[in-house]
């Protein structure tokens, strides 16, 4: 079933907090939900579908649904890490197309700067004994991908640094961004090594905060006073070492992208703006290749020399500053990717980074660990009218 034209993103809200020691995580979820509902011109009682992922406190969606007093006929707590919320947009559109709900709320929030990360209990995953002893952590699970990419394709640290430079050029116009200073390639390379070959400035920020989206049926979207942002196409995929068939040269975006483009009936050349999940610079580089914005192995040359800077390069990306400079709430950047794409399509991005005549945008994300198991979600969005 195609979801093209079956649902619209009518509300989007990025919580302004980047450090929230005086708020609870459920509170940040609820404040984000309220912000998205106000943006849409809808009320809490209009919501009949709720989507959340592993950052939501409690058992699946149950605690947050109860906390917010939601009355629901559809719930979905699909968990693919930071890409979950992009997948949720697609699942919400599917649920709306199937008549299972008409107004879907998606929330994300967390406080990694203010409270320690708590691992879930329960049964150990099957790979634990074969990976945990080796100290796999977020930085090296991406560093290993960067090392292999450099080996296979001659990608350089200078090329990867351009991704941070481009994000910083955008973040200077975002008063909420954690890092608002423009940086140079040399400054990225001079920052300390976290896990080879990644420097500190190859990494995203750690921020408290949250965000929310409202996805609604066409008749509801047309009754509201907001620009129409339609879901044109979507894809999702998972990828892992799979018994030893590991290939770190590509991400699951190679599988989530093609069905999204096919459903939307567009190609990468039609995309005016792209939100590319930027947990690390290498994450962006690999997804650009995997989605077909350039050939495999040419990502380094594609991102160099400001090609991702709005008004300068061919493919404006992450014009809010992205996870690299603006915000990575709950260590999960998927929802902010969709939010900035909605801003661009509405013409509500900062004037210094707004893409002229932005009618088709893409948001894509990788959640989990690129160097091990990860999930990818891709959505293609269109402004109507």
């Amino acid at each position: 079933m195609s979801i093209k034209g079956k649902a619209y993103i009518v509300g989007a809200y990025e919580h302004p907090a980047r450090h929230a020691p005086d708020k609870s995580t459920p509170q940040l979820h609820a404040e984000s939900a309220l912000g998205a509902l106000q943006d849409a011109g809808l009320s809490r009682d209009d919501v009949d579908g709720y989507f959340c992922a592993g950052d939501a406190p409690g058992f699946g969606a149950l605690s947050m649904a109860d906390y917010m007093g939601l009355k629901l006929r559809h719930i979905d707590s699909t968990e693919t890490g930071g890409s979950s919320y992009i997948v949720h947009v697609a699942h919400a559109a599917e649920a709306i197309a199937a008549g299972r709900c008409s107004v879907a709320l998606i929330t994300l929030a967390g406080r990694p700067r203010s409270e320690p990360f708590r691992r879930g209990g329960g049964v150990a995953p099957p790979e634990a004994d074969f990976e945990t002893p080796y100290g796999g952590q977020t930085s090296n699970l991406y560093g290993m991908c960067a090392a292999r990419h450099m080996y296979e394709f001659g990608t350089t640290s200078e090329q990867m640094a351009w991704i941070k430079v481009a994000a910083s050029h955008h973040a200077q116009y975002n008063p909420h961004a954690m890092l608002q200073n423009v940086v140079t390639v040399e400054e990225v390379l001079a920052s300390p090594i976290i896990s080879t070959p990644l420097h500190r400035l190859d990494c995203c920020v750690v921020s408290d905060g949250g965000g929310a989206l409202i996805v609604a049926a066409p008749e509801i979207a047309r009754s509201l006073k907001r620009p129409l942002v339609g879901v044109m196409g979507a894809g999702e995929a998972v990828k892992g070492p799979r018994g030893g068939e590991l290939d770190l040269t590509f991400s699951a975006a190679a599988w989530s992208g093609p069905p999204a483009f096919e459903m939307a009936g567009v190609t990468p050349a039609d995309i005016k703006y792209a939100s590319i999940y930027d947990s690390f610079t290498i994450t962006v580089l690999m997804q650009l290749e995997d989605l077909g914005f350039c050939k495999k192995g040419e990502g380094g040359r594609f991102v160099a020399d400001g090609n991702l800077i709005s008004g300068v390069g061919k493919l404006p990306f992450n014009t809010d500053g992205g996870g690299l400079c603006n915000n990575h709430p709950a260590n999960r950047g998927g929802i902010t990717k969709v939010i900035e794409a909605v801003r661009q399509l509405r013409g509500e991005a900062h004037p210094q980074v707004q893409v002229p005549n932005c009618d088709i945008a893409l948001a894509t994300g990788i959640g989990g660990a690129l160097g091990a198991r990860h999930g990818a979600g891709t959505v293609i969005l269109e402004r109507e009218g």
Partner: protein, 139 residues
């Protein structure tokens, strides 16, 4: 250049009913891989890792453990300097039997390990009474 990690505390494997025999072999210094049943028995015959009872490639039941050569080539490596008490080298190696597996590198300076280098398995102690874990050192 950082020196090889010898004191980093390595978490002990917990084991489970499916992987207990792998860790029993590890205690005896034998490094095992999973092997699917042969094609004449409905499987694909390929080696896999970590070991499963049902083959992850063809989903045939009845996979068994077999001793691996311990020879491998470095597929990727990253030396981690932050987020841990001391630096360490993590990577994937491609086993002679085929599978690419996560590991640490030991027995030489951390920055000396290069993609494509030949390495061999060594067992590194974890905790008293717990099995050792396989890592890789220069061949």
């Amino acid at each position: 250049m950082a020196e090889p990690s010898t004191t980093r505390k390595v978490p002990a494997p917990q084991g489970n009913p499916e992987t207990g025999s792998f860790w029993d072999a590890a205690r005896q210094g034998r490094f095992m891989v999973g092997r699917c049943v042969s094609t004449d028995k409905g499987g694909c015959g390929k080696a896999h890792y970590y070991p499963r009872s049902i083959c992850p490639f063809c989903f045939a039941p009845g996979a068994t453990l077999e001793q691996a050569s311990g020879k491998a080539v470095i597929y990727t490596v990253s030396v981690t300097y932050r987020g841990a008490p001391e630096p360490y080298a993590i990577g994937y190696v491609e086993l002679e039997e085929g599978p690419r597996i996560m590991t640490n590198f030991t027995g030489a300076a951390l920055e000396s390990f290069r993609i494509g280098d030949p390495v061999k398995v060594v067992f590194i102690p974890t905790e008293p009474d717990a099995p050792p874990v396989p890592m890789f050192a220069p061949a």
